[in-house]
């Protein structure tokens, strides 16, 4: 199965994404180990450089642009470990990708009552 029959607004983590995002996902997965979290927090750019991330990907990570990270091959399950270091709530990551405020996202996508 590949993206031969694309589903709107739904990136599948396939060959292309896996290759494009390999270094980003590898860096993110390493944050499952406490010493790497400390190194990431101490000097984020140096940590990203140690995984060989290109400038475009570094910018996406350092600005916490989740939509862009996914576009560059980041898989949510890996890059969630970046959000754990911050911490950034997953609902904020969903809202950012949907291009909505967290409040609108909660109401329009997750069916939460307003207020």
């Amino acid at each position: 199965m590949s993206n031969n029959t694309p589903i709107a607004q739904t990136p599948l983590f396939d060959r292309k994404a896996s290759i494009r995002g390999y270094k980003l996902n590898k860096m993110a997965m390493s944050l499952g180990e406490a010493p790497n979290r400390i190194a990431f927090l101490a000097d984020e750019e140096a940590f990203l450089d140690s995984y060989g991330l290109d400038d475009e990907t570094k910018t996406a990570v350092m600005s916490r642009n989740w939509h862009e990270m996914v576009r560059l091959g980041g898989n949510l399950f890996f890059i969630l470990k970046i959000s754990a270091v911050d911490p950034t709530p997953i609902i904020a990551i969903g809202a950012a990708q949907a291009g909505m405020s967290v409040e609108d996202f909660m109401v329009q996508r997750l069916g939460k009552k307003n207020g």
Binding site: M1, S2, T5, I7, A8, Q9, T10, P11, L12, F13, D14, R15, S18, Y22, N25, K26, A28, M29, L31, G32, E33, A34, R37, H67, V70, N75, L76, F77, F78, L80, K81, S83, A84, V85, P87, I90, I91, I93, G94, A95, Q97, A98, G99, F105, R109, L110, G111, K112
Partner: protein, 280 residues
Amino acid sequence: MAEIIGGIGTSHVPSIGVALDKGLDQTPVWKPFFDGYDYTKEWIAEHKPDVAVVVFNDHGNAMFLDRVPTFTVGVADRYKPADEGWGPRDIPDFIGAEDMSWHFADKLVENHFDPMIAREITVDHGLQVPMELCFGRPKDCWPVTILPIWVNTVQYPIPTPQRCWDMGKILRDAIESFPGDERVVILGTGGLSHQLQGARAGFLNEAADRDWLSTIARDPDKWRSMRREDYVEKFGSEGAELIMWLVMRGAMNSDVTVKHTHYHLPASMTGAGCIVLENT
């Protein structure tokens, strides 16, 4: 011979574990979700399984993209809970049902399945959360040993629903030919509808979720013959995890009794639910 005493389908949303860690399970947001598992816990207490087979996927915690096994069988004597970036969770290690795991691996390969066989591996929320929902949070040790089965649902190609079903048939044969008197419960986990990636993030489909819960027992053929693309479209990119329930369902009789169903929307960003099945 060992015996299958029932099958449970359940979500494994990580926020459920976080809610338990923070003691939020009785708050207004979470109580209706957790209340739906009271019956499941009672059923477990009454039927006293010795082994839990848990079918789940790793979420970039124990397996990286350097090698992506479509199916993995754990044969370890002990599994540590994974640190998913938030630090270690205060739950006991899981003890492996080693002999049954090896027996299952033998049966799979004899029947032309080719799993990865894993001796040293951590288990993430995909296994932890269903165990907590079914067995509560023990202080020192879990009341069952585990036989973990990992299914790749992260990197495409993921296995077909039919393949998951077929694995369930072999799982049943393996349990029923295992020399022992263990009582085995099978947990198929994941779903229900959710999507975490892309502009459709936050996609939920209550109608599809309710259709799944109301027909997985009596009409599983409809689901095992459905295309993966249709799972993604209907349940969201991560909702396609539901194919893992088919391993459990395939291991049960064609006629099953539904003892319990529960649905809650949303748990975090996910349609969440549970079903408890017994062979008729």
